[in-house]
């Protein structure tokens, strides 16, 4: 079909306008990250990179970066293992899998804040989970209130909410693995493990890229679950970059430091999405 060369740009105009509009707060924030801007102390005064230097040299900054990266890796690995495993089981059991799937997916549909709140209720000292632990003869745990257990408790909540996301996508991906292929591999003497590694996994790769992109980035910038349950605590046991930026910015009104943390976090997210999505796009059109 013929069209005027300006037509696509005309259709894109509202979106482009929005993108340009977003540039304003973005650039403003980027500028703040190079200043010692505090809300109640007049205009931003540049301090050229001191915020970034602080972030990478102070104990708190490095701690937050460590929490951010560690949390993302643990959460993505756990959710991929559980999610792909469950998806394969769902496909394996046949029709009954559909009913299972509907139930398994439910946690994904709640607001994460609400789900986190639910877990917070259950993980209190006299909550139902501790009661269960005592019932099987174990000790009560501190869960979200323990300096060592808080982060793992948040991981537990994240896995509970977002494993279904992996299940849904992995199941769709598994459909593209031809049965004949794994049957042929089995004929040639490949065991289930070998079969999974050499047949299923490569075929699953494109979907896995999407999964890792979404879950990776969302867990790098996890805020909802952590802030609802622990507000970054106890002390700073669960303070990742995103939570730290919120506490710096909204509570301490130290916008310079907050924006520096956010810029670093954003670069992390952006790099991942850039590489993974470029790879995906290429794959889709080849």
């Amino acid at each position: 079909m013929k069209h005027k060369p300006s037509l696509p740009y005309l259709l894109l105009l509202p979106a482009l306008a929005l993108l340009v509009a977003i540039l304003y707060p973005f650039l403003t924030g980027a500028w703040w990250s190079f200043t010692s801007y505090r809300l109640n102390r007049g205009a931003p005064v540049p301090n050229w990179g001191e915020n970034f230097l602080n972030l990478f040299s102070s104990g708190e900054g490095l701690h937050a970066i460590g929490i951010t990266l560690g949390y993302a890796v643990v959460v993505v690995v756990l959710e991929c293992v559980f999610g792909i495993g469950l998806a394969m089981l769902l496909n394996y059991v046949g029709r009954i899998g559909n009913s299972f799937r509907l139930l398994i997916v439910l946690p994904l549909l709640l607001p994460p804040v609400v789900a986190a709140l639910m877990w917070k209720v259950m993980l209190t000292e006299n909550g139902v989970v501790n009661w269960l632990l005592e019932a099987v003869g174990s000790q009560k745990l501190l869960w979200l209130n323990g300096p060592d257990s808080a982060l793992w408790s948040v991981v537990l909540i994240d896995v509970w909410i977002f494993t279904p996301f992996v299940v849904l996508l992995a199941q769709a991906g598994l459909k593209s693995v031809p049965k004949e292929l794994s049957e042929a591999a089995a004929m040639d003497g490949a065991g289930p493990v070998r079969n999974f590694v050499s047949v299923t996994l490569p075929m699953l790769m494109p979907v896995l890229v999407v999964i890792v992109t979404f879950r990776g980035i969302d867990s790098l910038k996890m805020f909802d679950i952590i802030y609802t349950t622990t507000k970054g605590g106890p002390v700073d046991a669960t303070t990742n970059l995103h939570v730290m930026a919120y506490l710096d910015g909204i509570r301490n009104l130290n916008f310079g430091a907050a924006m520096a943390a956010l810029i670093v976090l954003w670069l992390l997210c952006y790099l991942i999405s850039f590489f993974l999505l470029k790879a995906r796009r290429k794959e889709a059109f080849s």
């Binding site: 696509p8 259709l11 979106a15 089981l89 549909l109 009661w131 509970w160 593209s176 999407v210 916008f255």
Partner: protein
């Protein structure tokens, strides 16, 4: 027909090699039972917290705080009455509806032409524009929201429906464009060309052919956007004050004070789950199709 023939043939064959194949049959059944068992365990893990909160929402204050926890109790609807009749929950609930629906309308107006242009035209900078829009989804929310907080305060959009609706585009627009684009790309362009051959223009082709074909996908994308906007927390936490508090920030008020109001909080939690679960019953299949478009072959 033919399958029954094959089936019965297989069965007669099975009689001949009875002992070997029945052992294999048994181990297959065992493996299936094990699979079902694992799935059941995870399902219990997934449902238990929801069931627990549901039970809690039906308890009296006395039954809630008692230890060991009660599994059998006489249910009451008091908590729901309290939540649904007071403004503490209903105001945020209505605010959530206003902001979410407003965001969806705006997203649709911006997103539909964008997705169409990205899917159907080849032009310079196309992939860069597409990636820029999508990258909004991948930026940490506070990166934009924190500066917006001060900007909105200056220009009077702080604690304001319009301000929230504009900010919510960060959540709703990228994914709507991304998914709609794949839906449109999946449809053969020949359909629209046929309309053009018959003398129709691009607009009639879009209205009469394409729009109808993408309608289910569009509906599903809108529902997903609804859920994302409804669930959004960081944006309203920073950008809404007393007047525009939404459900995700409003629900925290039960827990914000020294004493936690467990019963009403549980009831509010249950009510706020409803939109998501309704959505699940409609359009799960479409969503997965949209997110994985281009990656799943065959």
């Amino acid at each position: 027909m033919s399958s029954t023939v094959v089936d019965s043939a297989a069965r007669t064959q099975g009689v001949h090699v009875a002992s070997g194949s029945s052992r294999r049959e048994r181990s297959k059944r065992l493996r299936r039972a094990a699979a079902v068992a694992v799935l059941t365990i995870w399902t219990v893990f997934a449902l238990a917290p929801i069931v627990w909160i549901l039970m809690m929402s039906l308890k009296t204050p006395g039954d809630i705080v008692v230890y060991p926890p009660k599994f059998f109790f006489s249910p009451t609807l008091d908590n729901y009455v309290k939540v649904l009749s007071g403004s503490a929950f209903m105001t945020p609930f209505v605010n959530s509806l206003i902001v979410t629906l407003g965001s969806l309308v705006l997203t649709l107006l911006i997103g539909l032409p964008t997705a169409y242009a990205l899917a159907r035209f080849k032009f310079r900078g196309r992939e860069n524009i597409a990636f820029s829009i999508l990258s909004l989804r991948f930026a940490p929310e506070l990166l934009i929201i924190l500066p917006l907080y001060l900007i909105f305060q200056k220009i009077g959009l702080y604690d304001n429906y319009l301000g929230l609706i504009l900010a919510y585009q960060l959540v709703t627009l990228p994914m709507l464009v991304w998914m709609l684009r794949s839906f449109i790309e999946d449809l053969p362009i020949e359909l629209e060309e046929a309309v053009a051959m018959d003398g129709g223009n691009r607009w009639t082709a879009f209205r009469h052919v394409l729009f109808r074909l993408i309608a289910p996908g569009l509906g599903a994308s809108l529902m997903l956007s609804f859920i994302w906007a409804w669930n959004s927390y960081t944006l309203p936490l920073v950008l809404s004050g007393k007047n525009t508090q939404v459900i995700t920030t409003g629900i925290q008020q039960y827990i914000a004070y020294q004493s936690i109001d467990w019963g009403p909080m549980a009831a509010a939690t249950v009510v706020s789950m409803v939109p998501g679960i309704l959505f699940a019953l409609f359009s799960l299949r479409w969503i997965v199709g949209g997110l994985t478009a281009g990656t799943v072959k065959g």
